[in-house]
Every structure is written in structure tokens, then in C-alpha cells.
């Protein structure tokens, strides 16, 4: 269903023959607790339902384990724990977003819920001020959409931390 949404957005753009303008970015909005986080759509290769995660012993707590994605073993991290939020509660709405950064392999990110796809103009994005606390260093900015505030994740920063760890 979530995948369908993504498709719809792209299809609409195509059918309207509207080129995606340079200064807009599409984000997938995800829910973590009470907050909404946006992930740049270009990094997302897939969104799957919650499935069995095999725990890997002796690794950092935010690494939930590995999953089987069509025959491939993919490590999965908890975005909640990574952002310093309380432990995940698995519900029907829980999703694993499979990200793929250019040279790296795929990695799964656990989120509470995937809401929608939004297209934000650059003018609706505010860069975060430089009081980089733990959480803010993973953000590339805050987007305003439909009266809501969406924290935009700097996925490269989130994952580079994982790679280094």
C-alpha cells in the first residue's frame, strides 16, 4: 500500500508531464512516536512490512539484526534508538524502509509508520541552526508541509555513523 502511494506520486508527475523541478525534493514521511521524519526518496529502494528480524549478538543496541529480503541478508537498524527515542513497539503499521546509498549495500530502517510522500520546495525547508546536539546532527533541515513540521533526515549522516561504528 505504501509502495502504491510512492508510485502514484511518480505517476501523477509523469501523467501531468510535469518535470520534477530542480529545487523540489520528494520525501517519504515516516512517523516515529509523535514526530514526523522525512527521508529523501532517492535513497529508498523499497518499503516492506515488519518481518522476523534475526538478532545479531554483540553489536550496538540500535542494530536490530538482519532480515531476509528476497534471498538477500540485510542488516536492519532502529531509527528510534538511533534518534534517542524509546524502544520500538511493533504494531501493524511498523515498516522497514530499505535504503540504498550509492556505493553501499542495502540497509533496513525500522519506523513506526510510513505516512505519505510529500514534495517540498526549497523555500519550505529551513536549515537547522548549528546547535548540533545528538539528534540534530542527523537532520538536514525542517520542512513545513500542510501546517505540519517534518524533520528531514540526513540519511548519509545517520548511516555513516553506522558504518563507522
Amino acid at each position: 500500500m505504501d509502495e502504491v502511494k510512492v508510485m502514484d506520486e511518480q505517476k501523477r508527475n509523469e501523467s501531468l508531464n510535469r518535470p520534477v523541478e530542480r529545487d523540489t525534493t520528494q520525501y517519504i514521511v515516516t512517523q516515529l512516536g509523535n514526530e514526523q521524519y522525512g527521508i529523501d526518496i532517492k535513497y529508498i529502494s523499497n518499503i516492506v512490512r515488519m518481518q522476523k528480524i534475526t538478532r545479531v549478538p554483540k553489536v550496538y543496541g540500535y542494530i536490530k539484526g538482519v532480515i531476509n529480503l528476497r534471498g538477500e541478508v540485510i542488516p536492519t537498524i532502529s531509527l528510534r534508538l538511533k534518534m534517542g527515542l524509546p524502544e520500538d513497539e511493533i504494531t501493524k503499521k511498523t515498516r522497514i524502509i530499505i535504503l540504498k546509498l550509492e556505493q553501499h549495500e542495502s540497509i533496513g530502517v525500522l519506523v513506526d509508520e510510513v505516512k505519505e510522500v510529500v514534495t517540498l520546495d526549497d523555500e519550505h525547508v529551513e536549515r537547522v541552526s548549528y546547535d548540533k546536539d545528538d539528534k540534530a546532527k542527523f537532520l538536514s533541515g525542517v520542512g513545513k508541509y500542510d501546517g505540519k513540521l517534518i524533520s528531514l533526515l540526513d540519511i548519509t549522516a545517520v548511516l555513516s555513523d553506522v558504518v563507522d561504528a
Binding site: 522476523k52 534475526t54 538478532r55 545479531v56 549478538p57 554483540k58 553489536v59 550496538y60 542494530i63 539484526g65 538482519v66 532480515i67 531476509n68 534471498g71 538477500e72 541478508v73 540485510i74 542488516p75 537498524i77 553501499h104 549495500e105 542495502s106 540497509i107 548511516l159 553506522v162 558504518v163 561504528a165
Partner: protein, 708 residues
């Protein structure tokens, strides 16, 4: 003609020939009289020359040409092989390897003419095998006379180009010729010259044969039909041919094939007068073979067409050393990898099917079960076959070592011999490709550090000549390669002192170190006990590289050392890297796989049998004390097993060390496909990978070696 498409084949085959030459020349050094070896060398040099010529590598061709001339004379018994000559030949091989390396990198052979080597080779010819320069001798002229015949560009006299005169005919052929004459048919001698630039000589020759067979009957050819088919001929071949057609018709038929430079044809007389013009020696040889045609390999005639001057008929005359034509196909390793991946997927799918039917319960159809069992055996066989395809003997790697040891022996001025066994042991192609360098390091180590100088050996009551052994064999799911020497062994004190001097350890630490710990120091980066740096070893960039390389192949290195008596370095490598037989176990509520290869036995142990030694739990099994490891603790998970009940202990071994792994439950044996877990998470050492179970879940594979 564009030959670039053949470059890869050329490189492969040239490497093979060079390796073959290396091996054979080593052999020749041991047995200078062995005709089989000399023939083999001649043949390899000859093929090299032909290949280099075809590809347009003139320098390479020139060098091999002169090498071939030397072998040719040796083969004819003009002179004998001498030690100095072997050295020269090895230098030639090195030069050829240099060309090859250049070609591989740039597709050009480079500009080194190796004039010196060519001169030495020519001097050998002049001086009947003596490796020193001197003035002309008859041999030179003989050689000069041969050369134009080989290079068809020269305007050699017709007689020497009409090579059919050199064809030896036996009784059968004579009978055929006489019969033909009596029937009024004509007998022709035919020599065909193929264009120098022709790439598929064998194909052209085949077409010529085809064309001629339409007109009459080929009774004998030189080289033999088989040799021609295998492209084992120069630019020309000759044959004797019976036909009712005229000479011009025959020539026209040959010329109808493209890329034929010249076709010579005359009526063949049984007692050809031209033969008188042939070199004396050849005539003698011919007489010998004619007088007793049934005798096995007749003495080889001296002319350049030497290889070709064998009677075609009479299978008994074929030389014993003729290499068997390999029925092989060269396949890109990527295609095999792809095939392997598909097999892996198939096995996972098969496992899912097994799991699905098992879940259905007892009332499922027995026919389905039967088919699943059949499927299981087919997939297992399929997997094994694909694995076997990927397996290559380590021979391709170790074959260069005797030569290396020989060179080292000269360089280090130590007498030593290398004894190899198990060259036919097979390993996965990817592993074999990687294993060469580590082995070379270890052999050099043995030669340089291991073996004492000859005088010290004699003083210690050992044989003067040092021995290095390279043994390879399969041990269960592993392949063991050991490098052993009968030298002085590792001097533990010397290593300790060196380590203290370098600040790696403190003198206090050194006091308490076990021998094994000291030896482990050798594997640290930049640690060498060689007193002086040589180009053999001593820069300390050896053993640490060896270790990391072996470990990257999921193997391990073990050292057995006896000071004064030698040391052995044992490499243990997994047979395959992709699919393993594993035992599935349950710990807590998680499933884990343990490679079957490392498991020795499974024991049922009562909790009361567990004893404490130095605060560590051990069990006593059949006379050995084995430490036990509670996997639930290692893996940070709650055990589900009842504390008071017997424990299931899996005894695993690593080298000669053992440990007992306590698990909660056994599931059974299963073929598992090893999957990488990616680089995002730094997986602890005890996990060697992951696998996908039949129900789609991921299970981790425990590395028993890392647990011990």
C-alpha cells in the same frame, strides 16, 4: 590481420607452455638423457614460437626460435645437455615471461631484444653444446641452411621447399604406390605453404585435405594428420597423393583454398634422387627407419621439419609422450559464479519446500515426500557438480615452486631439495588463485630462515642437502597445505630477544610466554629475524601478509616447531566458500548453524560431570579434558534448557584443540548457503555469516574456530 581477439587465449596458452617448459627443464636437469622430456620441451618451444609468430610478437618468436634450434640439436643427439645450458635456458624462460608480462599489460611485447641470450643460444649451437663463444664450425652452416626453409619468405631453392622428399614411407605406402602405378594412377608429392598471416592454419590444412580427397587418395602426410589437426606444424605441410588427375588440376584444387601461399606438386618417384641432396645424417636416419619400419619411434631426422617427418600410418610409431588432447572448455569464472548463485537459490527453495511439507503434518501425501527426497538428492548432486567444476588442482600454483627453490638454492648458496606431494589436491578456483603468494612466502621463509647453511648442517650431523616438503591433502571439508623443512626450526630465544629489542614485549612478558605465543609474534607486521635483509626475505613483509591472506580465505595458519629439527607451517583452508553442510542448533529461542566440518562428536553430558578447573568449566570425555563454552552466555541469550537435565554438548576441534559447545537443542543437519551480512554492521568474530532457512528466516552461522 586483427589478432586481438585471440590475445586472451594466447596469454593463457603461453603461460601453460612456459610453465610446462619450466617443469620439463627442471626434469631435464635431473635426467639430461631423457628423450621424452627433450621431445616435450621441443614441442612446447615449437608451439610457443608458432603462437608468438601468429600474434606478431617477433622478438618473442626469435628467442623461442633459437631455443627450439638448441633443443632440436639436443634431440638429434648432436650434443648433450649441460648444466650451463640449463641456466641459459632458464634465463630464456625468464625473458619470455617478461615478454608475456609486457603483453599482458600493454599488448606489446616490449623492446628488449635479448640479443645476448640469442647470441649465447647461437654459440651453443656453434660449439656443440658448449656454453662459450668461439669461431664458426660446421654446425653453424648447417643451422643457416635450415633457417630459410623455416621462413618461407626467403627465395629458397625449389628442392628444399619440396618437402615431400623428406617424407618417410613404409612398406604399406610402398605397396600402395606400386599398386597405383600398376593401375595407371599418378603418384604426386605435394608441399603446401600456408600464408604467414594465416590464423587458422589447421582449418586451411583441413580444407586442402578435403579438396584433395575429392581428386584421389592421400596416402601419407607430414606432419601426421593428427598433428595437422592440432595445428602442430609450421607454415607448410607435405603429403603423398594418388590421383588420376593431372598435376595442374591438383595444384588448382589446393589453390582453391584461401590463404594458401604456394602449392608445389611433382610426380613422386619411390627412389627420389633429391634425397641424395638431403643431409647425410637424415639419410642415415631414414635408412634406419626404412630397414625396420615396424620398430618403435625411429630416430628423429635432423631437418627443420623434424617434428613433421614421422610416418603417418602405423599407429605403433606414435611417440609415447604425445600429450592427450584435452577435452576441456574454458569458461569465464563469472558464469560459474552465476551458476553457483542459482544453485544456492535452488537449495534455499528446496529447503523451503521441505519445511512447508513438514509443517503440513503427518497426513500429507507420501508421494510428495518421495519426490521431495528425490529433489533433495538431485540438488545435492547438482551442487557438488557445480562445486567440482569450480575446483582446480593446486598444481597450477605449486608447479612453479621447484624452479623457485632451484633459483633460491643458487642465490642463497645452500643446497636444498623441494619434495612435493598432493599436487592434484583440488580447491575452489578463487582460493587457488589467492594461495600462490602466501605459499611462496612460506617456502622462501623455509629456504632462507629455516634451512641452515650447508656447513652448519653437516656439523649438526644432518644431511648436507636441506629438504623442504610441500604437502597438500584433503582433510574432511578442509584442504591442508603444509610447508615443512628439516632446518633449524624457529629459535624461540632469538625471537624473544628481537621482540624485546623492538619493544613489542617487555622482558617480563617474555619470561612467561609460551612457545606458541612467541611464534605468534612472527606473524606481527614487520617482524623479521633475518640478520641481514636480502632480496629473498628479511624485510618482514612476509608472515603477517601470509596470515591475513589466509584468514581472508577463511583459513588458518598453524606452526609446529621443533628447535634444531625444523618447523612446519600448516595452512588449513575450507574446500568451498559458498555452501556448507551445517548442524542446526537452538540456543534460547534462536537458531544457529555450525559448520559440520569443525564438529567432532555430540555428547550428552550430565550436569554433575562438569568440573571446574581454574574457574573454568571442563568435562572429561574418553581421557581428554575439554573446556566447555556455554553458547547462551557467549550469545547473550537466556537458555531455555532445563538446568537439571543433561546438557547437549557439541565437541568442536580446531587443529588439535577442542572445546565443547553447550546448546539447548539440536535440529539436524542441513545444507546452508552462506550469505554475506554486509558491511554496515561490524559482525563479531564468532559469527562467520548468515544463511536463509527454509521458512525464510535468517539464521546466523557460528564460527567454531573463533570460539575456541
Amino acid at each position: 590481420m586483427d589478432t586481438s581477439q585471440y590475445l586472451e587465449i594466447f596469454l593463457d596458452e603461453t603461460k601453460e607452455h612456459l610453465q610446462n617448459l619450466n617443469t620439463q627443464i627442471m626434469e631435464l636437469e635431473q635426467n639430461p638423457e631423457n628423450m621424452d622430456t627433450i621431445n616435450e620441451i621441443f614441442r612446447a618451444a615449437h608451439s610457443l614460437k608458432g603462437m608468438a609468430g601468429t600474434m606478431g610478437y617477433k622478438r618473442m618468436q626469435n628467442l623461442t626460435h633459437d631455443m627450439e634450434n638448441v633443443f632440436s640439436e639436443v634431440r638429434n643427439g648432436t650434443f648433450k645437455v649441460q648444466p650451463d645450458m640449463i641456466d641459459v635456458l632458464f634465463k630464456c624462460l625468464d625473458a619470455l615471461e617478461e615478454y608475456l608480462a609486457n603483453i599482458q599489460q600493454t599488448t606489446e611485447e616490449g623492446t628488449n631484444d635479448n640479443d645476448e641470450l640469442i647470441k649465447i643460444l647461437n654459440d651453443i649451437l656453434k660449439n656443440n653444446g658448449e656454453v662459450k663463444p668461439s669461431s664458426d664450425s660446421p654446425a653453424t652452416e648447417e643451422k643457416k641452411a635450415e633457417q630459410p626453409a623455416e621462413a618461407p619468405s626467403g627465395d629458397a631453392s625449389g628442392a628444399s621447399r619440396e618437402k615431400w622428399h623428406e617424407i618417410k614411407i613404409g612398406d604399406t605406402e610402398k605397396m600402395l604406390i606400386e599398386k597405383a602405378n600398376s593401375e595407371g594412377l599418378k603418384v604426386y608429392g605435394v608441399s603446401v605453404y600456408v600464408e604467414e598471416a594465416c590464423v587458422l592454419k589447421a582449418a586451411r590444412a583441413f580444407l586442402v585435405f578435403k579438396a584433395l580427397e575429392k581428386l584421389g587418395e592421400i596416402i601419407v602426410s607430414s606432419p601426421t594428420a593428427q598433428d595437422i589437426e592440432d595445428e602442430r606444424f609450421e607454415l607448410s605441410f607435405s603429403l603423398i597423393f594418388i590421383s588420376g588427375n593431372t598435376r595442374d588440376e591438383v595444384i588448382a584444387a589446393i589453390k582453391s583454398v584461401s590463404e594458401i601461399e604456394e602449392a608445389l606438386c611433382e610426380e613422386y618417384k619411390t627412389e627420389a634422387p633429391a634425397q641424395a641432396a638431403a643431409p647425410e645424417q637424415e639419410k642415415a636416419a631414414e635408412k634406419a627407419s626404412e630397414s625396420k619400419p615396424a620398430a618403435a619411434p625411429s630416430p628423429k631426422p635432423a631437418a627443420t621439419s623434424a617434428a613433421s617427418a614421422k610416418p603417418a600410418s602405423g599407429g605403433g610409431n606414435k611417440p609415447a609422450a604425445k600429450p592427450v588432447v584435452n577435452r576441456t572448455v574454458r569458461v569465464d569464472i563469472e558464469k560459474l559464479d552465476n551458476l553457483m548463485n542459482l544453485v544456492s537459490e535452488l537449495i534455499i527453495a528446496k529447503n523451503s519446500l521441505v519445511a512447508a511439507t513438514a509443517a503440513e503434518g503427518k497426513d500429507n501425501n507420501s508421494a510428495v515426500n518421495e519426490q521431495i527426497e528425490y529433489l533433495e538428492s538431485v540438488t545435492t548432486n547438482l551442487h557438488e557438480s557445480v562445486m567440482k567444476v569450480r575446483m582446480v588442482p593446486i598444481e597450477s600454483v605449486v608447479a612453479k615452486f621447484p624452479r623457485m627453490i632451484r633459483d633460491l638454492s643458487k642465490k642463497l648458496d645452500k643446497k636444498m631439495e623441494l619434495y612435493m606431494t598432493g599436487e592434484d589436491t583440488e580447491l575452489d578456483r578463487t582460493v587457488v588463485d589467492e594461495i600462490g603468494d602466501p605459499l611462496m612466502h612460506m617456502l622462501r621463509n623455509s629456504a632462507d630462515h629455516g634451512l641452515e647453511p650447508n656447513d652448519v648442517r653437516v656439523a649438526n650431523g644432518k644431511p648436507e642437502v636441506g629438504s623442504i616438503f610441500l604437502d597438500a591433502y584433503q582433510d574432511g571439508n578442509n584442504v591442508v597445505i603444509s610447508v615443512r623443512d628439516d632446518g633449524g626450526g624457529v629459535n624461540i630465544e632469538a625471537v624473544k630477544n628481537k621482540a624485546i629489542e623492538r619493544g613489542t614485549i617487555t622482558p617480563e612478558q617474555a619470561e612467561n610466554m609460551t612457545e606458541k605465543e612467541v611464534i605468534d609474534l612472527l606473524f606481527l607486521p614487520s617482524f623479521s629475524t633475518a640478520k641481514k635483509v636480502s632480496d629473498v626475505s628479511g624485510r618482514g613483509v612476509g608472515l603477517d601478509v601470509v596470515k591475513s591472506k589466509i584468514e581472508s580465505l577463511s583459513g588458518e595458519v598453524e606452526v609446529k616447531n621443533k628447535f634444531g629439527e625444523g618447523s612446519s607451517w600448516i595452512i588449513r583452508l575450507p574446500l568451498t566458500l559458498a555452501i556448507i553442510q551445517a548442524l542446526m542448533v537452538v540456543v534460547g529461542d534462536e537458531k544457529y548453524a555450525i559448520a559440520l566440518g569443525s564438529i567432532q562428536t555430540i555428547e550428552d553430558v550430565s550436569p554433575s560431570d562438569i568440573k571446574l578447573v581454574q574457574a573454568k568449566e571442563v568435562i572429561h570425555i574418553r581421557g581428554t579434558v575439554i573446556p566447555i563454552i556455554r553458547l547462551n552466555k557467549v550469545l547473550d541469550i537466556e537458555s531455555t534448557a532445563d538446568e537439571s537435565k543433561n546438557l547437549t554438548v557439541i565437541i568442536v576441534k580446531k587443529g588439535d584443540k577442542q572445546a565443547g559447545l553447550v546448546v539447548d537443542e539440536l535440529i539436524g543437519q542441513q545444507e546452508v548457503v552462506i550469505k554475506s551480512m554486509g558491511k554496515y554492521i561490524k559482525v563479531p568474530k564468532i559469527i562467520s555469516g548468515a544463511t536463509i532457512l527454509g521458512n525464510g528466516d535468517v539464521a546466523l552461522i557460528l564460527d567454531a574456530n573463533a570460539l575456541i
